[in-house]
Structures are given as structure tokens and as C-alpha cells.
Symmetry: C2
Subunit: 121 residues, 2 copies
DNA sequence: TATTTATCTGAGTATCTGTTCATATGGTAA
DNA sequence: TTACCATATGAACAGATACTCAGATAAATA
């Protein structure tokens, strides 16, 4: 699949990579930013995590609230919250033994709103 | 961890689920929309697919262009494009045996821009 | 027709992910 | 202290995912 000038002149339907690939490479995101963005989307790309983020957008909730809401175990929720915490999408506040979680990133809501529009078209 | 009114009155640090859970349930997305949104984010939550979408935002490209750009096999690209096609995020146009792919959803770019802002804060 | 190019597809496989389960930690109250 | 509650954590397991490989398909040309 190596395109060459000969093949290009010989037969005009052959793929001509160079220009497009170099253009794409030129406009490409730095690998680090691309990776970071993918990580964000991946975090939002799970039905339960997305429900958590949607709920926390409206009101802070503790782990067992979320577990009851999602109808899954508190352990499962805790694992998901750890992931969201590591990405700094949520933060928490302690009140006695109870941890109240809330959204910690204003982009998350914007992303959810656009995705919602998307589903409604 | 069933919360009851007795426990609530008895000990004020216990979780009080009912109000929050019912509030969250009230504001919750329909399961179908939630699932659809998660699917969109999941599709964008892979480094290679995100690179593809980013590249196609700038210029239409054929499969072997994309493969050369990403430095992965054409087969792998074809599998990823099928996924993106099924979600109607990209579409293609045939020119002889060559298929040129392009973005087919104006939300994708908005989402990428916000995610990019996110990474830069 | 046979051949070549570009792409697609299904099967197989290694890796990643999300859950469960058991256990640990931190805070509160008797 | 001891008991209890809310949450966190690590190991283990099942299912999902993304790649490779071999073969199929569609279009152009000889």
C-alpha cells in the first residue's frame, strides 16, 4: 500500500496519502492532550458513571445515596467514585463518617448537555 | 443499610437517603437517553477513535490515509470506522474503490472543543 | 475473463473493565 | 474499650473491547 509517484500518475483512483496524512499530522493534537481527552470521555462513557455525574450536577449525595439510586452495591459505587475522583471530576466533603460527593468540573455539565442534544436529534 | 425514621431521629449522622434518592430519581434521565449518551462518550473515549474524529473534523480522509496517520493496520481502522458509522458519527463517500470518510455530527466537534478546554486548565 | 486495489468482515486472542466479595479504615457513640 | 456505621480497598472473576489474521467483497483495468 505504499503510494508512489508512478502509481499515482499511472492510475488516478489510487490512494494518495502524503498530503492528507501530513495535513492530519500537522493539525493533530499532541498525544498527551489526546490521551487526556480520551480519558475524560471514557470516564463519562459508562452508563452508571454518567448517572452519577448527572445526579451530582443537581445535588451532592453520599455513597449510599448513590448506591440506592443506582440500585448497585456501595462497593461498586465507591470504585466508580475513586475513578471520578482521580480525574478530579468529583470531590467530597466529610460530615462525620459520611462523605458527600459533588461535581468538581464545570465542563462535565456542558458535555452532558451537548450529548443530550445529540440524543434528541 | 436500610435507613428508617427511627435511625434518623436516633442518630443524626446516619445517611438519610429518601429525600436525596427521590430527588435524584426525579431529575434522572430516562434510561434510554442515558444509555445513548454513554454510548457516544464511550465511542469518543478511545485514543485512536478520538484521533480519527479530530482528523476528520479538519478534512475527509480514506481508510488507508487514516491507517497511515495513526500508524495502525487498515483492518483495525476499518473496525473502528464501522463503530463510528453505526453511531452515525461519520459517513463516507465512494470514489471508485476508495471510501472517503468525514464527520457526520456537529456535536462531536463541540464536545472535543470543551474536552480540550478541560485538559488545558 | 483474471488481476489488482481498497475496504470490509468474522474468528480468535490478549488485554481492559466493572462487578462482587472479603477485609481494612476512619469516625461516632455507648 | 467495644460496637457500629459509612466508606475504601485489593483480589478475583466474568464480560467487554481492540487488535491481528485470513478470507470475502466491490470497483477498475487489462
Amino acid at each position: 500500500m505504499k503510494p508512489t509517484n508512478e502509481t499515482k500518475e499511472f492510475c488516478d483512483y489510487r490512494c494518495i496519502h502524503e498530503k492528507r496524512v501530513t495535513a492530519a499530522t500537522h493539525d493533530a493534537l499532541p498525544g498527551q492532550e489526546n490521551q487526556h481527552m480520551a480519558q475524560l470521555f471514557k470516564a463519562m462513557g459508562d452508563a452508571n458513571r454518567l448517572k452519577i455525574l448527572w445526579a451530582l450536577e443537581h445535588e451532592e449525595m453520599c455513597v449510599c445515596d448513590i448506591a440506592a439510586f443506582l440500585k448497585v452495591s456501595e462497593s461498586a459505587v465507591s470504585h466508580q467514585l475513586r475513578l471520578l475522583r482521580q480525574l478530579q471530576l468529583v470531590s467530597n466533603r466529610r460530615e462525620g463518617p459520611v462523605l458527600y460527593y459533588r461535581l468538581n468540573d464545570h465542563h462535565v455539565n456542558e458535555l452532558m448537555q451537548i450529548a443530550l442534544e445529540h440524543t434528541r436529534e
